[in-house]
Amino acid sequence: MKPTRVTNRIRQLRFAHGEMTQAELAERVGLTRQTIIAIEQGRYSPSLEMAFQIARVFKVPLESVFEYTDPDSDT
């Protein structure tokens, strides 16, 4: 089971933005590359502020990057 219900599209967005590397994204938002990997893999939920910073890098609204999976939608 994943430790968080927050899913994200960071990987797709990185590729859509000139194949931005995890290291480049990490540097732009002040995180380590390993933390970006953990977020992409759903092993870590960033703070709201960090989530906004990531969305800002891709110039998209927050909900275009992160999505909360409704627990009731589980089957």
């Binding site: 968080t4 390993q34 933390t35 953990a38 092993r43 870590y44 960090m50």
Partner: protein, 151 residues
């Protein structure tokens, strides 16, 4: 479980320091128990002089961890400055887990003291609490790094 403790996996500096601290703690405790049990071959274990050995064992953990942290800053100053939000949250999470173990252990030591146990057993119960709490904290942090963490 094996993936969780795979040390060949890429790690942040903070995670590497946790592995080193846990190793220093285990090594120090191992040497300490080796010395005490070695002395206990000739005299009853409760009569073994342990004060200085315990002092040096705990001192080695503090100084060893400090030396590694200082060496990291000197050898890799850029990496040493990269502690991020996840590192801080994982650190707090692991420290809290360690404090819980320590608090529980201290209650046991208190019970031993009230029951009139010999100073040797009281001191070693406390020593064991410190070692177990340190290891528990380190393992909690490593699991948080490897398997995921939701603050």
């Amino acid at each position: 479980m094996s993936k969780t403790f795979d040390i060949t996996k890429e790690m942040t500096l903070e995670e590497r320091l946790i592995w080193v601290s846990a190793g220093v703690l285990l090594g120090s405790a191992g040497v300490y128990w080796g010395v005490i049990l070695g002395r206990a071959r000739y005299i009853p274990i409760t009569e073994v002089p342990y004060g200085w050995a315990m002092f040096w064992s705990l001192g080695a953990v503090v100084l060893g961890s400090l030396a590694v942290a200082v060496a990291t800053v000197i050898l890799a100053p850029r990496e040493a400055d990269q502690k991020d939000q996840r590192d801080r949250e994982v650190g707090r999470h692991g420290d809290a887990a360690g404090y819980n173990v320590l608090a529980l252990g201290c209650l046991g030591v208190l019970a031993l003291t009230v029951a009139g146990a010999e100073p040797f057993w009281v001191a070693h119960s406390l020593y064991l609490c410190c070692v177990v709490a340190g290891l528990w904290s380190a393992v909690t942090k490593i699991i948080a790094y490897r398997r995921g963490f939701s603050p």
